[in-house]
């Protein structure tokens, strides 16, 4: 069974530090959410720009969720999960990208 001291430091930061992480996460995700809603609500962005801006904000926010709420980071001990998530991202990108490419292309030729 495990020795306590072989835990990587990043997992053993103590309650206060971990609470600060959650609070940071809450602030960051709230700010990103409000930014996205604000930009669209104010009509400041639209069309292709909106898609790019929203996509960027969404990716940053998803990363923030993983980082602050799900505690996934680049530490060595976390690589199993990180690899899994990155591989999933690759597969998801292939599936979504391919489907969108195929269906939009097909639509123009029907």
């Amino acid at each position: 069974m495990s020795d306590d001291h072989d835990l990587p430091r990043s997992e053993d930061v103590g309650e206060a530090a971990e609470r600060r992480q959650y609070i940071r996460g809450a602030v960051a995700t709230l700010a990103l959410t409000l930014a996205a809603f604000g930009l669209v609500g104010s009509g400041y962005v639209s069309g292709g720009t909106a898609l790019v801006v929203l996509c960027t904000l969404a990716i940053v926010q998803i990363a923030a969720h993983f980082r602050f709420f799900l505690h996934i980071d680049l530490a060595r001990s976390h690589r199993d999960d990180l690899q899994l998530i990155l591989f999933t991202a690759l597969i998801v990108a292939l599936m979504v990208g391919g489907t969108v490419w195929i269906l939009f292309d097909q639509h123009t030729r029907m």
Partner: protein, 690 residues
């Protein structure tokens, strides 16, 4: 009120009643098939009762969470389904061969039902359970684990697969299966054109089996990640385990699009949604897109474990280390990732731009590189070896040659230019059978021959095994080479009758091949019976009948319930070979420890039964029954989470006794030279290497 519980199911839906009302040849064949099923079930029930096998069946098998028994049950299920699907292939070919002379054997709709069930069964209920069974049995043993990570879930996967099989079987007796092929494209399978229960049988059978596969994939991937014994790093895993890992990853991701596509189809059919109805903003080609987003990785789910088996076979029966281990590992990974980038090649002719087709065509052809590498690695594995052509090796070498042909036709089909000419034709049918019969099916037959002794303690009879090979090998050529020819002559798949008399000789040849394959299957059954009868002469209690190289051969045959008495030492890819060379394979242990194993559970059986009932009720639109059964599934899941006492302990003394009994068997056995491995002298102990 009764409608809520019985839905649209009526007496007229019973196949026998249909025959009673309209007694023609077509209905007679349907009724005969249904009758065979009913007789088979009744005979089994009687046998179980007369022999008093109910209790052992329940206690030792159905409720067992042992990965080895679950694996064996998967294989048994697959063989039963294989019998039906190969019989269907025979009916189809016989029908086609006779169809132009008169009406043929079956009505067009019945013919369509046959090719739909044949495809669905062969993919989801033969190939998948076969390889899942083999992976289940072998993989934990090869990595030195006691079981998979989630044994209960493993059994649930099995029971969901069995429920899917049950559903397809029931469609023989009650109502009709889909006529839309195994890929079930709308709008043909939509409510307008196929209003009956057929497509729903297809939808729910696929849903059950794909949920089972997703869970299996997760289970195996975690097992391989977390349950490897000390010293077994990833790059010391036997190649079979690598293919299991890649297959598992494909299962995890590929089943989602299928589940979604079938769910959408169901919503279109029964809830008025418009996913695939063009007029209201749907896009039926998105079904093709989603289906093949699953379907192409699925193809590699079917073939990768076969590659793993071939790697083990070539190395074991050449008495030699696998050539190019790293190449094979990277080739496997490359195939797994590439398999997610090629799905469009199933619908090159949909009308999309040429650059889309070209991109997916090139991605498809790229798979040829790692596959070609594998073929040459296997060839070089035999080089500098001591090759012995036992049954698995016969299949393996036959595979190498026929797989080349399949590879060439695969590269041809990867070219949109060529595909435009042979898409939907029998050329395509020949191509994928060329991959799946010498590839998947023969690999699984080889695997059965290779690992059977480990499962049951005795070898399979070699002579009857050769009979299986010598029936199936020419059977395959005879059945499918004519299809290549017919495909290039403009013969299309799923055609109930060919009016062109030119096709007639080819059709008869194909039918002869189908008969040979069926005969080969019969020989397999005979082989098993003969082997059981002569099990004393074929017994290999010391556990290593083939001079094996990986950890599954450490320990007795049949394997310990707990797989290993202690933790095996791993210092090489060929871990067991290394142990034998160091003289540590058959050593007494200093100490023995208690072993925790999962307790038997009825939960998987109950979940499988309820899920099957829910699916059956959905097929017949019996909403109340479906809702109750579905709620029942979740009630059982939640209820089970309150059970704490799920483990039992095998005391150290019992482990020690078992281990010593095996060592005594080893001591009693005479080491045999490979030349004599087929004689009764082979008690499962290999001669010391020179």
């Amino acid at each position: 009120m009764i409608g809520l519980f019985l839905g649209t199911l009526r007496w007229d839906d019973v196949t026998f009643v249909e025959f009673w009302r309209t007694p023609d040849l077509n209905n007679a064949i349907a009724a005969a098939a249904a009758g065979l099923l009913v007789l088979g079930v009744v005979a089994t029930l009687i046998l179980l009762t007369v022999r008093g096998w109910w209790r052992p069946l329940w206690r030792d098998w159905l409720t067992s969470l042992d990965h080895k028994k679950i694996g064996i049950m998967y294989v048994a299920l697959a063989l039963v389904m294989f019998a039906r699907a190969v019989a269907e292939a025979n009916v189809m070919r016989a029908h086609q061969a006779t169809a132009a002379l008169d009406a043929g054997l079956v009505a067009p709709d019945h013919f369509a039902e046959l090719f739909s069930t044949h495809g669905t069964i062969m993919i989801f209920l033969v190939a998948m359970p076969l390889l899942t069974g083999i992976m289940n049995f072998v993989m934990p043993l090869q990595i030195g684990a006691r079981d998979v990570s989630f044994p209960l879930l493993n059994a649930i996967s099995l029971m969901l697969t069995a429920a899917a099989a049950g559903l397809v079987m029931v469609s023989l007796v009650l109502g009709h299966f889909s006529t839309g092929g195994w890929s079930g494209y709308p709008p043909y399978t939509g409510a307008d054109i196929s209003p009956g229960e057929g497509p729903d049988y297809w939808i729910w059978a696929l849903t059950l089996s794909s949920i089972g596969s997703t869970l299996t994939g997760m289970n195996f991937a975690v097992t391989l990640y977390k349950r490897r014994v000390q010293g077994m790093h990833l790059f010391r895993m036997p190649l079979f385990c690598w293919t299991v890992l890649c297959t598992s990853i494909l299962m995890i991701f590929a089943m989602a699009p299928l589940t979604l596509a079938t769910l959408m189809l169901w919503l279109d059919r029964h809830a008025g949604f418009h996913f695939f109805t063009v007029g209201s903003g749907g896009d039926m080609m998105n079904f093709a897109n989603l289906f093949w987003l699953f379907g192409h990785p699925e193809v590699y789910i079917l073939i990768l474990p076969a590659f793993g088996v071939w790697s083990e076979v070539f190395s074991t029966f050449s008495g030699k280390r696998l050539f190019g281990y790293l190449s094979l590992v990277y080739a496997t990974m490359a195939i797994a990732v590439l398999s997610f980038t090629v799905w469009l090649h199933h619908f090159f002719t949909m009308g999309q731009s040429a650059n889309v087709n070209a991109a997916f065509g090139i991605a498809t052809m790229l798979i040829g590189v790692p596959t070609g590498v594998k073929v040459y690695d296997w060839l070089l594995t035999m080089m500098f070896g001591r090759v012995r052509l036992r049954v698995p090796m016969l299949f393996a070498n036959y595979f190498l040659v026929t797989f080349l042909l399949g590879g060439v036709t695969g590269v041809l089909l990867a070219n949109p230019t060529v595909d435009y000419g042979v898409h939907n034709s029998l050329f395509l049918v020949a191509h994928f059978h060329n991959m799946l019969i010498p590839g998947t099916l023969f690999a699984m037959l080889a695997a059965i021959h290779l690992w059977f002794p480990k499962a049951f303690g005795f070898r399979l009879h070699e002579g009857w095994g050769r009979a299986v090979f010598w029936l199936m090998a020419p059977g395959f050529l005879l059945a499918f080479m004519p299809l290549y020819a017919m495909g290039m002559m403009g013969g299309m798949r799923r055609t109930a009758y060919f009016s062109d008399p030119l096709f007639r000789p080819w059709l008869w040849a194909a039918e002869a091949g189908a008969v040979l394959i069926l005969a080969g299957f019969a020989a397999l059954v005979v082989q098993i019976v003969v082997s059981v009868r002569r099990r004393d002469a074929l017994a290999v209690p010391a556990g290593d009948p083939w001079d094996g190289r990986s950890l599954e051969w450490l320990g007795p045959a049949p394997a310990f319930e707990f797989n290993f008495a202690g933790e095996p030492k791993v210092e090489d890819v060929d871990a067991f070979t290394a142990l034998k060379a160091q003289g540590e394979a058959y050593r007494r242990q200093e100490t023995y420890e208690d072993i925790e194993m999962p307790r038997n559970s009825a939960v998987p059986v109950v979940i499988g039964a309820l899920a099957g009932l829910a699916a059956f009720a959905m097929v017949w639109q019996a909403w109340a029954t479906a809702a109750l059964a579905f709620a029942g599934v979740w009630a059982v899941v939640i209820g089970r989470s309150f059970v704490r006492d799920t483990e039992r302990t095998i005391p150290a003394a019992e482990v020690e006794a078992a281990h010593r009994a095996w060592l005594a068997d080893v001591a009693a056995a005479t080491p045999v030279h490979r030349r004599d491995e087929l004689t009764p002298e082979n008690r499962g102990l290999a001669e010391e290497p020179l």
